[in-house]
């Protein structure tokens, strides 16, 4: 199967996890999939999630302080799930 691009991969991940995923869980899976490491790529995943949330493709279901320090002390961790609109956009763009 052709490897998906990052936003496509994130959307597919969330589509498969109906109960939602924490941002650090998504970051870990993305970094593993694309063989990336370091803060830069963790930041890229976070920026990607922000884009998807702003566009209403994702919904926030929970948040908490980032005690694991995945994204830095004082930052927030968010648990996302795919929205109905996100699923619709996946169907329209051949991601589903």
């Amino acid at each position: 199967m052709t490897k998906l691009h990052m936003k496509g991969f994130v959307l597919r991940l969330l589509e498969e996890s109906r109960e939602g995923l924490w941002d650090y869980e998504i970051a870990a899976k993305v970094l593993e999939e694309f063989h990336h490491t370091g803060d830069y790529w963790r930041g890229e995943v976070r920026a990607t999630l922000t884009d998807l949330f702003s566009g209403a493709l994702l919904e926030e279901i929970e948040d908490r302080m980032d005690e694991e320090e995945y994204f830095g002390v004082g930052k927030i961790s968010v648990k996302f799930r795919l929205s109905a609109f996100g699923r619709q956009r996946m169907v329209e763009t051949g991601l589903l």
Binding site: T2, K3, L4, H5, M6, K7, G8, L11, F34, T48, T50, D51, L52, F53, S54, G55, A56, L57, D63, R64, M65, G74, K75, I76, V78, S83, A84, F85, Q88, R89, M90, E92, T93, G94, L95
Partner: protein
């Protein structure tokens, strides 16, 4: 110790602020582009062609736009190289149902908007071209609102209107002079002005759709890959085949040091202006992103004043105040209104 509440508020405001910063950065670079974009017309061989027949002038505009798009693509390739996104470029390129939107956007942004702008400059004047293009957020915001239900509060509409009135007032006094002194081919210039406003507006709306599901840095690079393909493999060869114009010798004549300097400067400013434009859309929406980017009217005057060492007219201050006020009206909108830019309830069932 930071509370969850304050961390949450900071997290929400950050993405929105970044959207505005990107759009403002786009406006600065777009304004800067007017210096090399205008100066290139004063270099040989274009300076001789500028006053020539309509056919030759159209060809010059096409060659400048084509060379410009090549320079832009070069800098975008460097950019995604620095960001280590070449792999992402290849992966997104293969997603035809996503990348096709960027190629469609390239038709509206390149051969329609940019080329139309040059026509407007040539046949009516740069002031008319700048005002006509300033209207593009109206097209973009309207399309985004009705096509994919982008949220558009009354406050955002007021902000857009104030920015547009401010932009228009900067150029309005000069516009009368251009209208009273039309060229024989003036209708081509008016058509070009409409092409610029419609082209950039439609491109933004299309890009907003594709950016839902792909990366902005990669998206803009795909969009210019499409435009370069259109110019180099379709439009310029078609002109060579179907007209008597000597396209090759004009291109060869343009490959001199002075022209290349301006083309490279135009390329670097427009490449990163476009990067910022595309990065702002997912964060604050196409309507707001385009309206803030329309502040380029102010920056164009500032950069041209610095370059020509001549102060702008006094009425520039009125336009400047209005555009800054319009930007402020939008920038201070409540974060809750902006954190999700779509009315998601309405989106399901909407047609693409």
């Amino acid at each position: 110790m930071q509370t969850l509440e304050s961390a949450r508020a900071r997290y929400r405001i950050r993405s929105v602020r970044w959207g505005f910063y990107w759009a403002l950065w786009c406006a600065v670079l777009w304004g800067a582009w007017y210096v090399p974009g205008t100066a290139v017309w004063y270099e040989s061989p274009f300076v001789e062609l500028g006053s020539a027949s309509q056919g030759e002038f159209l060809l010059a505009a096409a060659v400048i736009t084509a060379l410009g798009s090549l320079a832009i693509l070069f800098f975008l390739f460097v950019w995604i190289g620095v960001l280590e996104k070449w792999g992402e470029y290849a992966r997104t390129f293969r997603q035809i149902r996503i990348s096709k939107w960027y190629y469609l956007g390239a038709v509206f942004g390149g051969p329609c908007a940019l080329f139309g702008s040059y026509l407007a400059i040539g046949y009516v004047g740069p002031i008319f071209a700048a005002i006509a293009a300033l209207m593009y957020p109206v097209v973009g915001a309207t399309l985004a609102r009705f096509w994919y239900y982008e949220k558009m509060s009354a406050r955002a509409v007021v902000g857009i209107i104030v920015i547009l009135v401010g932009g228009a007032s900067i150029y309005a006094p000069g516009l009368m002079g251009e209208f009273s002194n039309p060229d024989s081919g003036a209708w081509l210039g008016y058509l070009g002005g409409i092409m610029a406003a419609v082209g950039w507006g439609v491109e933004g709306a299309i890009a907003g759709r594709a950016l839902d599901v792909s990366d902005p840095d990669v998206g803009i690079t795909l969009r210019f890959t499409g435009e370069v393909f259109y110019w180099v493999f379709l439009i310029l060869p078609a002109i060579m085949i179907f007209s008597d114009a000597d396209v090759l010798s004009l291109i060869l004549a343009a490959l001199n040091f002075s022209v290349m300097i301006w083309i490279v400067l135009a390329g670097i400013s427009f490449a990163f202006c476009y990067v910022a434009w595309y990065k702002s859309f997912p964060l604050i929406g196409v309507g707001r992103g385009q309206a803030i980017a329309a502040l380029y009217g102010v920056f164009a005057v500032i950069f041209l004043s610095i370059f020509t060492l001549s102060l702008p007219e006094w009425h520039f201050l009125i336009g400047l105040s209005l555009t800054v006020l319009g930007g402020f009206v939008m920038f201070t909108e409540k974060t809750e209104m902006l954190e999700v830019i779509r009315s998601s309830d309405l989106n399901v069932g909407a047609k693409t």
